[in-house]
C-alpha cells in the first residue's frame, strides 16, 4: 500500500507514522491555510468594528431595495454553491466524472453569478459617489473604505476560488487530479462561504438606513 503521492517527495506509507489527524497532508494544509485566512479576515473585521465604534459620524448607506435584496440574493447564491460543491465532491468520490463536471460547473456558474452581482453593486455605488476615500452622504469616509476593502478581499477569494475550481475540474476530467483534490478545493470554497456569513450581517445588515 503506497501513499507516495499523498505528498510530493514523501516516502511509502508503510514506512511512516500515520498522521495524527488521519487526513492527507494536502487537506491538513488547506485546514491550516483556512485558519490563517480566518485570522486575516478576523483582524480586518475587528479593524472595521474598531473604526466604526470610534466614528461618531458613521453613515448607513444601504436601503432594502436594491442593496439588501441584492445582498440576500448573493447570500443564497453562495450558500447554494456550497451545496453544489458538496454534490460535486460526492460525485467525484464515487468516480462519476460526468456528474462531477456538472456539479462543479454549477458551482463555478454560481460563483461567477456572485461576483457579477457584487461588481454590479460596486459599480452602482461608484456612480452614487462612493469610493475608498469618499462618502457622498457626508459622513465618515471610513464607510466606503472599509466596505470596499473587506468585500474586495472577500471577492478576491471568490474569484480565486472560481479559478481554482475550474483548474481542478479540468484536471479531474483529464485524470490529473483526484477526488481528494476536489474535496480540498471544496473545503476552501466552504470557507469563502463561511466568511460571507460574517461579512453579510456585519457589513450589509448593520448598515441599513
Amino acid at each position: 500500500m503506497s501513499d507516495s503521492a499523498m505528498t510530493a517527495g514523501s516516502m511509502h506509507g508503510a514506512a511512516m507514522e500515520p498522521s495524527p489527524f488521519l487526513i492527507t497532508s494536502r487537506k491538513l494544509t488547506m485546514w491550516l491555510f483556512i485558519v490563517a485566512d480566518a485570522a486575516t479576515f478576523g483582524a480586518i473585521l475587528f479593524g472595521y468594528g474598531y473604526l466604526r465604534f470610534g466614528s461618531p459620524n458613521w453613515t448607513k448607506p444601504f436601503t432594502f431595495s436594491p442593496n439588501i435584496i441584492n445582498g440576500l440574493v448573493m447570500t443564497v447564491v453562495l450558500l447554494t454553491s456550497s451545496l453544489t460543491m458538496l454534490c460535486g465532491v460526492a460525485a467525484a468520490r464515487e468516480g462519476r466524472s460526468g456528474a462531477t463536471m456538472k456539479w462543479l460547473g454549477a458551482t463555478i456558474l454560481l460563483g461567477v453569478t456572485f461576483a457579477v452581482l457584487h461588481l454590479r453593486e460596486w459599480t452602482g455605488m461608484f456612480h452614487e459617489g462612493w469610493s475608498l476615500s469618499k462618502n457622498p452622504m457626508g459622513g465618515s469616509v471610513q464607510v466606503g473604505a472599509l466596505f470596499f476593502s473587506i468585500t474586495g478581499l472577500h471577492l478576491l477569494h471568490v474569484i480565486s476560488g472560481v479559478i481554482a475550481i475550474t483548474v481542478i475540474a479540468i484536471g479531474f476530467r483529464a485524470r490529473k487530479f483526484t477526488a481528494g483534490h476536489v474535496e480540498t478545493t471544496g473545503l476552501y470554497w466552504h470557507f469563502v462561504d463561511l466568511v460571507w456569513m460574517f461579512v453579510f450581517p456585519l457589513l450589509y445588515l448593520l448598515n441599513v438606513r
Binding site: 506509507g13 511512516m16 489527524f21 497532508s25 490563517a36 486575516t40 474598531y50
Partner: protein, 603 residues
Amino acid sequence: MTMDSVSASITELPPATPHDHAPPESFLRKYVFSLDHKVIGKQYLGLGLIAVCTGMFLSWVMRYHLAFPDKAVPLIGWIAPTFAAGGVITPEFYLQLMTMHGTIMVFFVLTTAPFAGFGNFVLPIQVGAEDMAFPRFNMMSFWVTFVAFAVLVAAFFVPDGPPLSGWTAYAPLSAVGKSSGPGEGLGQTLWVIAIGIFCIGQLLGSLNFIATTLDLRAKGMTLARLPYSTWAWFITSMIGLIAFSVLLPACVLLLLDRVAGTSFFIPAGLVVSDAIQPHSGGSPLLWQHLFWFFGHPEVYIAIVPGFGIISTILPAVCRKPHLGPKVLIASQLAIAGLSYMVWGHHMFLSGMSPSSATLFSVPTLIITIPSAIITLLWLGTIYGSKLRLNTAALFCLGFVSVFVTGGLSGFFLSQPSIDTYLHGTYFVVGHFHFVMGVAAMFGIFAGTYFWFPKMFGRMMNETLGKWHFALTFIGVYATFMPMHWLGLEGNVRRYSSFPSDYMHGSLPLHRFITYSALFLGASQLIFLVNLIWSRFRGPVAPDNPWEATSLEWSTTSPPPFDNFGGVHPVVYHGPNEYGVSGPRGDYIMQTDPPVAAAPAATA
C-alpha cells in the same frame, strides 16, 4: 472511525509519481531553484548572513555618529553621497538607518535564520523524511522571502532613501506619505510591500513545517519521540501561522492609506509639515494594535527555535538526559498561547487605555513563568554533568546567560508604571537586544557550530570557535549592558545625537558602547573566517561527531539527496537517551534497535 477506513482515505491516490523530484542535474535546479530542503535551508541561512552583515554595518554607522556627533563618519560619505554628503549624518538619515537596521535584523535575520534556515535543513531529517511535505511551496517560500528582501533593500536606491518610521512603521508617520519626511514616499511604500510579501513567504513556510512534522514522521517517530528542536520549530510555525496572517491585512490597509487615499490609520485634522492632511476618521492606535498583535508573537518566532536548538544541544554536550522533557514542551506551548495575550505591553506609552494596560501587564508577568521553567530545566540539565565544553556548548551557556539577563529587565518593563519611564529610553534597547537579538543570535551560532558538520561534511575549527565565543560574549555585555544605565539615567532612544543638552554627560558611556560594538562586530570576522576556511579546509566530519541521538546523525555528513540513501529509518527510542549504557557508549540513537529488556516500540 476505524483504521481501515482511515488508511483507505489517505491512500485514495494512485501511486502516479513515486518520486516527485529526482536529484536535479543542472546548476540552476541544483543550487538556485532547488526543491531540496537542505539547499533551501542553506539558502535561508545565506540570506540571513547577508542580511546580518548589512544590518550590523548600519548599526556601526549609527553607533559612530552617536559617539562622535560632530565628526564625519568614515567612508559613509563615499558610500551614500546623496544621504550623508561628506559623511555627515543628519537626524533623518540616522532614523532611516535605524529603521532599516531593525527591519532587516528582525525580519530577515532573526526570523529567517533560526526558524526557516535551520528548520528547513534539520527538521525533515530529524523526523525521518525525504523532504518537506510540499517541496515546491518550500522553494516558493524562500524565493518570496528573497523578493521581499530585494524590495526592502531597493529602498536604499530610490531618490528619498529608506523610510524613517522605525521597524514598527508607526502610523500616521508611515501612512501620510512624502510630506512627513525623507524616505516616507516611495521608500516607505517599498517597506510596506516588502513586509507584506515577507508574510506570504513565512506563511508558506509555516504551513509546510506543520504538515511535515505531523505527516512525514518515520515509523516509530511518535510525537513524544520528536527531538526538542523539531517541537520548537513546530510550535514556532503554529505561532507564525496566525501572527503573519494578521500583519498581512495590516500591511494591505497601510498600503491603501498610502496609495488609495483611505484613512484607516490617519486621524482627522492631522497637520504634517504645515499642511492639513485630507484624511479623517482613522486611528493610529489601530495600526499599533494590529502590528503588535503580530509583533509580540514575532518575538517568540525569533526565540523559540533558539529554545529548541539549545535543548537539543545541551543533552548531547552534557551527556545526560534533558530534564523534564514534557514540561519543556508544555512550557513552550504555554508561551505560544500567552504570546497572543501580551502585545499591549509594547504600547504602554502609546495613549492606550490605562485599563487595558493592566490587562496586558498581568499576562506579561505570567509569561515569565514558562520562560523561567525552561531556563531552570536547562540549568538542571547542566548541573552535575560531565560537560563537553566545545564551541556549541559555550554558545548554549551564553544563550542561557543573555536570555536570563534580558529576561530580568523584562520584569521591570512589564509593569506600566515603570515602563512609562523606561520605555522611551535605552533601557528598552538594551532589554530587547539581549533577550531577542543576542539570545537568538547565540542560538544561531550554537546551531551553526553544531550542525555545520552535517551541512557541509567538515568540522569547524574549535580554537577559532572558542575565541569567537569569548570575544562575542564580552562584546555583547560591553555593548548592551551599559544601555540599561543610560536608560535609567533617562537617555532617550531614537535620537541621533546628544551634543548640547542634558544628556551631554552620557557621551563617554556612548563612546564606550560604540567601541564595544565595533569590537563585537570585528570579532565576528573570526566566525566568517572559520566558516569559509572550515567549508573548504576543515577536517572531514564523521557521521555523528557529537555522539548525539537524533536522526540527522544516523545518516552521512552531508546527507544524500533523499537524506537516508533509500533506507526508511525506523525509530525505537526517544531523543533523550543519554547517560545510559548502550552498545555505542553512553547514548542510544533513535534508530538503534531496541535493547532486549526494553519493550518493542511500535506505535
